[in-house]
């Protein structure tokens, strides 16, 4: 697996202060993203999987500068983009990156026409003439399956169905042919039959435009379908990382195992055996220096309570952060 590395994230952290009022300094921090490392190659899709509150969305938004990272380094196309100060750099970065949001009902401004929505990235970047923008909008709309595009150009989002709206959102994200796109659960709000259409469409476009994708989802099955690599997150930490088929077929981390076993199977005759884990997910506010899964882990050990496990490569590009494993797949216990 070699190719141009589009995005490299090193030790990325994002803490949110828990403040009561503007007058008091924050004493507690929510460790939404804690020491994250990964990279995405050109044309590849990495999927971040985890339960709600695990920090996957924060990761995506931090990379795209919606949040200022607390620590770490983000390299995009070989350039350090952790902190962008120059207007020119910002312009460059924002024209090369994009995001697709979960809710097609909310991510389109209801007061703008489809044309305005799709052309907005170009307007903001002052890209091309109006004429050129129109043509590009028409073009991308056609490619996302909104046809005929000129019939939709001057409509408002509320006149469109959910599937169409998500297509428009995709069109908007892709109109400037970005290098890198964060897709935050883009299909979770869609109906089953539409969801498949949109997923297929995205797959096609990724191939066609050779983009890199960070695909955020809570659904492992969707991740498996969409992504080349999957990374599982738990309470702000990455617990496991592998190529998608490897991860699905050979999960190592107890949490990943639980996650996979909990996915219902559309087969009434199939009886899953689920991994029993205790309790529910909490919030990583000022977490103790220990494995964050410690409280729920059925295999918790003494060491898990003492320090945080590092992400170790157990071979075949499969990394896991658990004291049960050492390098190259050796099992400790």
């Amino acid at each position: 697996m070699s190719g141009e590395i589009v995005l490299k994230v090193e030790n990325l952290s994002k803490f949110f202060p828990m403040k009561k009022s503007v007058f008091s300094r924050a004493k507690h921090f929510l460790h939404a993203v804690d020491n994250l490392n990964f990279q995405i190659e050109k044309g590849k899709v990495l999927s971040l999987v985890g339960e709600s509150g695990c920090g996957k969305t924060t990761t995506g938004k931090t990379i795209l500068k919606l949040y200022e990272p607390t620590g770490g380094k983000i390299t995009f196309l070989g350039k350090d983009v952790t902190h962008l100060h120059e207007a020119e750099d910002k312009r460059w970065f924002h024209s090369k990156t994009q995001m697709i949001f979960q809710d097609p009902f909310e991510s389109l401004n209801p007061r703008k026409t489809i044309f305005d929505i799709v052309a907005e990235p170009m307007n903001i970047q002052n890209f091309g003439t109006l004429k050129k923008r129109e043509l590009m909008v028409m073009d991308i709309l056609k490619r996302v399956g909104i046809s005929p595009p000129d019939a939709f150009l001057w409509r408002y989002p509320h006149e469109l169905s959910g599937g169409q709206r998500q297509r428009v959102a995709i069109a908007r994200a892709l109109v400037m042919k970005p290098e890198f796109v964060v897709a935050d659960e883009p299909t979770s709000m869609l109906d089953v039959s539409i969801r498949t259409q949109v997923m297929k469409l995205m797959m096609e476009l990724i191939k066609e435009m050779n983009m890199s994708f960070l695909y955020i989802t809570h659904d492992l099955a969707v991740a498996r379908y969409m992504a080349d690599e999957i990374s599982v997150m738990y309470l702000g930490r990455m617990v496991e990382y592998a190529d998608s088929e490897e991860l699905i077929n050979n999960p190592l981390h107890p949490y990943t195992k639980a996650l996979i076993s909990a996915v219902p199977v559309p087969d009434p005759e199939f009886k899953r055996k689920s991994v029993e884990i205790k309790g529910g997910i909490g919030k990583p506010i000022d977490p103790l220096p220990r494995c964050r899964f410690y409280d729920r882990c059925p295999f918790a050990m003494e060491i898990c309570n003492q320090k945080e496990p590092e992400l170790v490569d157990v071979g075949q590009n499969h990394k896991v952060a658990c004291f049960l494993y050492k390098k190259d797949g050796d099992t400790v216990a």
């Binding site: 990156t97 401004n109 907005e120 004429k131 908007r172």
Partner: protein, 329 residues
């Protein structure tokens, strides 16, 4: 769009019209849609009709009448007089409605209808100027406070708290009692006071909702600046609410003016409140006089109530456009 470059997609280009005409059509269309919703609200329509009637009376009928029937043509002081300020010698005043004075005259011999009509555009001016100031301030501060948050937000919200604390009418009374307040100043004061008060809080919370919606982040991801987002995304989305509050503020401003005039605190030539003040201080709103001299206070009082009510009605009608949750299914 002036330069037409060669394009590859002729078919679509042929269908493209100039953006301005498209925008106009879009505006017209969304107006029509909102109108459809609005027109289903009986209350809103009643309000609109009343406002239109008053507007026609004040802005069209009055100038015409002032220029024709009420025009001071003769140089003889006994016959010619300004109906708003002048005196009709030909009868005992106040006189009940007659053909010469459709709504009668007041104790100073002035034509009630003329006073009523003369005041109408001024009431509109006052209401709309005050409401505009309020809404502009409220929208700007509300959105800015919501968008940037932090100390700025806290500051403006505390200011709003204080303004809300102010007993509004007493405060206006004190101000207008102490300094010379004319209509424009009053509009300014009312606009400023209510602009920094409740409306800011309402618009801020609305702006906070808009701010948290993904399309804001969507724009940010595309590199949009703060001002771009405020102007292009947040303001257009709080605008309907602003507009709604503008209607309620018109009501408030007209009402406040009427109250202040009613206490004789304003430095103005004529207004509906002043008409009632005149009737009241001259002793016509007491006991059986109330109905014997109804024309002295009823037209003016009804006008205040109707116009205030009308804007309020429109506000409630608009509420159904702006807040779909109130709509009837």
């Amino acid at each position: 769009m002036t330069d037409s470059t060669n394009t590859t997609v002729e078919t679509t280009e042929a269908k493209l019209e100039s953006p301005i005409s498209i925008r106009m059509k879009l505006m017209w269309r969304s107006f029509k849609e909102n109108w459809k919703i609005f027109s289903q609200s009986k209350i809103g329509m009643i309000g609109l009709y009343i406002v239109i009637i008053f507007a026609v009376a004040g802005f069209i009928v009055y100038p015409i009448l002032a220029d024709t029937v009420w025009k001071t043509t003769s140089l003889n002081a006994m016959v010619s007089y300004n109906p708003v300020t002048g005196y009709d010698f030909l009868q005992n005043n106040p006189a009940p409605p007659s053909w010469a004075h459709l709504l009668g005259t007041d104790p100073l011999g002035r034509d009630i209808l003329a006073q009523l009509l003369y005041s109408t555009p001024r009431e509109f001016m006052l209401g709309i100027v005050a409401a505009l100031i309020t809404v502009i301030i409220g929208t700007l501060i509300g959105t800015i406070a919501a968008y940037f948050g932090g100390a700025l937000d806290t500051f403006f919200m505390r200011v709003a708290d204080i303004v809300l604390l102010f007993p509004f009418i007493p405060f206006l009374i004190v101000i207008s009692g102490m300094m010379q307040v004319d209509l424009l100043t009053l509009a300014l004061i009312i606009g400023l006071l209510s602009g920094f008060g409740g409306i800011t809080i309402v618009l801020r919370s609305q702006a906070l909702i808009v701010k948290s919606r993904p399309f804001i982040e969507s724009a940010k991801v595309s590199g949009a600046s703060d001002s771009y987002i405020i102007v292009n995304h947040i303001i257009p989305n709080v605008m309907p609410l602003s507009f709604l509050y503008m209607m309620f503020n018109v009501t408030g401003a007209i009402f406040s003016e009427a109250v202040l005039s009613f206490f004789g605190l304003l430095n103005i030539k004529m207004s509906w409140g002043l008409m009632i003040y005149t009737a009241d201080t001259a002793g016509y709103i007491i006991g059986s006089n109330i109905w014997n001299y109804w024309w002295l206070w009823l037209p003016a009082g009804a006008s205040i109530t109707l116009l205030c009510g009308a804007f309020y009605f429109i506000g409630r009608g608009l509420d159904e456009v702006v807040n779909p949750r109130l709509r009837k299914r």
